[in-house]
Symmetry: D2
Subunit: 463 residues, 4 copies
């Protein structure tokens, strides 16, 4: 790369999982909008054809008259080719297929265990981690080999254990996990300000202290100018506790019509703990006792959030494949849109083109002093030329300490279990999960079944 009067040119981004139908197009759009970074995006995917399609589509974005930058997209046959010389690496993969995810999400239902997402925690999240982490090990080793100095941005779930594994395999990696869930809560707070007569506040103007782990993040401070938003939120929760609040703005985003929530879980957690849970309700519920929000599909309806069936994901994938074909062939026009993601700005900040403080997932080096060092946590961090440094988030407050430590301990066990191919330790984590509230025998039976269901992607564990 080189710094020029255009900003930075000849940058190389390696995109692992570059055949993505959906998320990749958002990145292309965001890159097209940035006017001070230019270069190459190397698309690598185990589905080479998908990567090649995205090469075509990506170059269409660059060719748009409103594109402000000059990016060349290129599918690569090998991961080494993508990574060599990369300044940034993006990891956004689907571990296994939706068949495995079907087992993750739906196999536990026979024990009365329902999961809204099943990709982060819960029985599904844990099994998903087991099959993902060996893949991540491979990627981490390739990064160490091909581009050890590159910045690595992970978007894949389960984010925490993936980010941790990247560091475990290659301790000097400069990796972070990037997630927009907190933004939704900032928008909810902006909506609340609107209800209180302060209109048109942007989410970035809500300054929050973020603490916790990905998808189970909490705000311990939220300020708008000189207004402490906690007292206002307390009233807001009491006002809307029963019916909830649907965040309209969120609904505009393409995927939210199937993923939305009315924030009732968030409000219940505020009543219980006095802090603002800051992720979508579907994720939050999965970190709590199963009996609270996920006892049955009826209860989930009453709490006004959705269980995302894997059948929907399968159908949606077909739609996206069709859209991909449309884009590639030109029957569907490529369009530059607002994604709301921070990724491209984070890249710019790391290049020294701007400076920003935003939430990110990285190993705990003390930003949360009462969580284990090395555990991957989500807090604010400062992105500045060549450095990403956590902002001190403070201790997890006592009220929510037990919730977060439970999640952290599970993640630490899962990472260790995967690293050592140790299914016994994985079972300890599984049986201790808040949704898996079963006798030791039942937990074992379910665990064994889910392993069996997904064994094609777990061969590493049975060598």
């Amino acid at each position: 790369m080189k710094y020029t009067e255009k900003g930075v040119e000849e940058l190389k981004i390696a995109y692992i999982g570059g055949g993505s139908r959906g998320w990749a197009w958002g990145l292309m759009s965001d890159l097209a909008k940035a006017d001070d970074i230019h270069g190459t995006v190397a698309l690598y995917d185990i589905d080479m054809e998908a990567a090649e399609h995205n090469e075509i589509i990506g170059n269409m974005y660059t060719a748009l008259p409103e594109s402000k930058s000059n990016w060349k997209y290129k599918a690569t046959k090998t991961i080494e080719e993508a990574l060599t010389g990369a300044d940034f690496v993006i990891i956004s993969i689907l571990p296994g297929t939706f068949d495995e995810m079907e087992s993750d999400v739906h196999a536990p239902e026979k024990y009365g265990i329902y999961q809204a997402v099943g990709d982060t925690t819960g029985p599904g999240g844990i099994i998903r981690a087991l099959r993902t982490l060996p893949m991540i090990e491979y990627i981490a080793k390739k990064i160490e080999e091909c581009c050890p100095g590159a910045w690595v941005i992970n978007y894949t779930n389960p984010m925490t254990v993936i980010t941790k594994t990247l560091y475990k395999v290659f301790p000097k990696i400069k990796a972070f996990g990037c997630c927009h869930e907190v933004f939704g809560t900032q928008k909810l707070l902006a909506y609340m300000l609107g209800e209180n007569g302060i209109a048109n506040v942007q989410r970035e103007e809500i300054k929050v202290n973020v603490i916790g782990v990905n998808h189970f993040t909490w705000l311990t401070e939220a300020k708008y100018k000189n207004i402490d938003l906690f007292p206002m939120y307390r009233d807001f929760v009491e006002k809307h506790y029963e019916e909830g609040v649907r965040n309209k703005e969120e609904d505009d985003h393409w995927f939210n019509k199937f993923f939305g929530c009315d924030n009732r879980v968030k409000f219940d957690l505020f009543r219980r703990y006095g802090y603002i849970a800051a992720a979508g309700d579907r994720h939050l519920a999965e970190f709590c006792e199963g009996k609270w929000f996920l006892e049955s599909p009826e209860k989930v309806d009453a709490w006004k959030f959705g269980l995302t069936p894997v059948s929907w994901r399968k159908q949606n994938l077909k739609d996206r494949l069709a859209k991909s074909e449309g884009l590639r062939s030109g029957t569907v026009p490529v369009e530059i849109k607002e994604t709301g993601e921070d990724g491209v700005n984070q890249i710019r900040a790391l290049l020294g083109l701007c400076e920003m403080v935003t939430n990110v997932n990285i190993p705990n080096i003390g930003q949360i002093p009462n969580l284990p060092l090395g555990a991957v946590v989500e807090t604010n961090a400062a992105f500045r030329a060549g450095s990403l440094t956590p902002v001190f988030a403070g201790e997890i407050p006592t009220n929510i300490y037990a919730l977060i430590t439970r999640a952290v301990a599970e993640q630490e066990m899962v990472v260790e279990a995967a690293a050592n191919r140790d299914l016994e330790l994985a079972f300890t984590a599984f049986a201790n999960n808040s949704l898996v509230n079963l006798s030791c025998e039942d937990a074992r039976a379910l665990f064994d079944e889910m392993i069996e269901n997904t064994k094609e992607y777990l061969k590493e564990y049975f060598k």
Copy 2:
């Protein structure tokens, strides 16, 4: 006090709750057996008559021909009289009456919540704490006023929050909580050695690393001479998992016939976590998910431990009152017996008459680095002339980290709630308890009912 050729003479022990029918007699017996400490035991109790009876009984112990020491027992009208000049203070009180305990233990049953003891954690333990801690505040202030340099030994439950409150009120107090539950597990390990051909091992010979909080302590190391007992225990658990093991030796102790267990909970926890839980099953079960061991009286039977009904405690109290009357009037003879408690030896060690390493409950100053500083924890400690110093116990292993942190967080909240008379914070702790797995509304209804039931002892919270 003074050091003489007889050891230490003119020692003064203040016994708060000195009217006890039962535990006090054990202390009298242990003091009679020690040959190098002598002095006065001041008995204070809100039931003055009970203290006076124990004055008579205590002096009978001293008068026994086999008594090796010279102790004078004296009931005092005021707590100040008992404490002034005391070198040691023993706190062993019953907070409230068994009527309050009836609510603690049985009120939650209508929500399907069963408790084996109800004095440590669970809804009962939390409510008990709320009424006990203001009493402890009073005692701590009196200690600061009357005998700030005395060593304070607490035997009262809930032990952790009481010990913490003593330090909160009077930070320079030299207090510790003393509990024999770990000894039972050492005896179980000795029994196991017997099964493996190594007979007659004494519990003190089993060297253990103790870690956790009172009644939820764990062993991370257990050694006999050069034998690591973990592999042997693993086999032992598998062999006895279904039928359990009743520790015969334990049964000889007077109260164990109503309190025994077959260690099946302990074995299940070993299967789940790989570490040796080291307290009675009745206590251990209360720290776990309710569904695991305490789902119903039938499940409890199957796990082979007992729910102690408060009706039994009420009957037992009558029996003990009768025994007290018998002792006092001479119709029942006083006898020196083995109690298995460490208390008197701890006193001797603090006086520099011996040296010992044993488990104790004191604030965490780093002996467990991954628990909050200041939280009261149970680990080994060295008792040496004038000093009690924790032995470094190490980090809580990841496998059980979430279990212990949940207990610690609850205890920290309960202490804070009591200190600030803050029932909202108490409710946060209550609703987050592993046995109280209820909706926010149900949790609130139960909490309110239990507060109402015991309000006579909660007046401080409603000023």
Copy 3:
């Protein structure tokens, strides 16, 4: 205060030491240049007349046609009047007179101890602290009483112990110490970039990780865009080690012609330790062994920095008094100038009008994990609406760990000594200072003499 379309209006700043001849005028200039904050500056000074003069001068700044904001300056008779209702408090006082400073700086010379400044560490800094901290206690109590929610910016030296004392007296204070010394090193690095063909870099573009204590701060990272500046600095040091580098830009600043340095001390410290010391050489030298840089005035000359004699300060004060009179009477025009201070922008960021990451002195809550919690340290911090949060600085590298811990321990002792009026502890700190390399007897004699010399301001210690 209120937020309007002009930014924030009706802000109140209390300026303690508001009669300052010099520093105050810089603030006035900076405030006049900011276009989005407006309000009142209350000037309090024990020299009421000086404050009144600055009231006149300040209002002259506001009246300048190029002033972008609307600030009203008002001298107050009492500190309470100044503080009541204040949103921000600035503390910039001279503790004692230059007569006391004469003893601080010059009394040790008879023992071969030379000090370049004598206001931070060394025998002079310690004695200065002893007389300053009781004043700071008074101010802290008044802030707690009159404006407990105000942000408090301290500019007074010794900065570390003052900031610590503010927190010690009023733990909920929102105070920080603000110092521009690091900026000089950023400018030196910009100069170095110029030598390497990269011209016109602004100091803010040099992104640094700041770690240490005030006036003894170090850079463990320094980046410009994607350039790691450490290898370049290594060459720069070797090239200029002998003759040094005089930072021209610095010289333009009014006070630097008497305070400048050629950075030879900085270069020597880099050779010794491999990290970039980031304060003026006059300050750096005082934290090192006396023999290294301050052995004699001749050595100081050879190291190309200056010992600032107090006689110069006395003369300079006369000049500033004359200038004050000139400004007040209109014979010298008020002018808006660049001060290079961050203070006004920090105020704007705390109001939510911008966001910034810059270095600041606040208690260690973990931003430097291997320094004692609670010690005041200097690191980067994020200034955002209503919150000031340290950026994680990392551990002090082993190479300089002993240097920093020595400074920290001294400061902790001095704060404790002042708080408890404990001259014995103050002596322990004094005798352990790196410049006071004397026998216990000589150290005591010097200490006693310096206490005697300044006893008029130490009455608190002899009550």
Copy 4:
């Protein structure tokens, strides 16, 4: 090994440096006095003949009629032979010859740097470490290979960096450093009790809290029964400050007539810092500013301790060689004597034959929370069957924090420098040493000279 009615039989101790003329004989004597451990001592030495002589002498000890145990001594040709099957390993070697030590101790004198011992810190200790640590690496690797489960007791200086290196090379090693210097201070306190009318106190009865690093240990608590010894020590110091106190009992020990001290340095440090330094004055002085106690031989005389010239060591070695020959040939009788070392009892405790709390050098896992984790520190520890666990020592008090951290930082740098064969880092440590108070140039010249002098043993650094 096996446990029998005789205690433990068939134990194997590997003694690295087993050709020692002096220290080995003490061990033989201590083993002969223990009645419950028996087995083989394998003597390995690079001087095979010396080991063979000790084989003969050791078996003479066993043959003594008063010997209570049955130990067979055997010289081995290879280190592997000695280590294989060992239950315990003792490391007591001389790194290099007294010629190298002559450079360590005397080369710095031309810069006015005097060292009393030169084996721990100071320029001599650092250079000695550089040549020793590669040897220790080799030994650690051999232990990992041949007897990874053995307990390893190091007696060699510089003890701290050696113990640290053992752990660095083989992290699972069960090693500790063993030193009797603290005992001398306990004896001094017993002497003080005698002066105060309490006679015949044994050193073990003085219960102390030990904190610091080897040869720079401090007592923060010292108790005899219920007596706090600090106030008594304060008076004792004032009484004896000028003339000092020669500990008579110490003088009986064979080597103390050349190594004694009158404790004036200890008293001066108490005056300065208020804590009891607990090592011989010769060692303590080397950790302080050179100007305080080691400015010149005359000053050393005035402080009443000795500089041990290496010429004396050379002569003494000749004497010991003669004694060895005498013992071997039977002209000098072998005798069982009191050594005062704890080593054999530590072995017995680790075997579960007794239990003890004593001071030991092991990595900091939190026993001193305000020192870096992993740094080797000296504190009390509990020796119990199969486990060695530090007793929590508490934080280094602020008064002496800077002293200890300076020593720790030096040791951490030296270990790192040796591990990486990095003489630049070694120089940073060297130039920062409190005795090396030189300009950067002079420090470099001295460093280079000392390296040159001892280069035969530093070949690893020049590959």
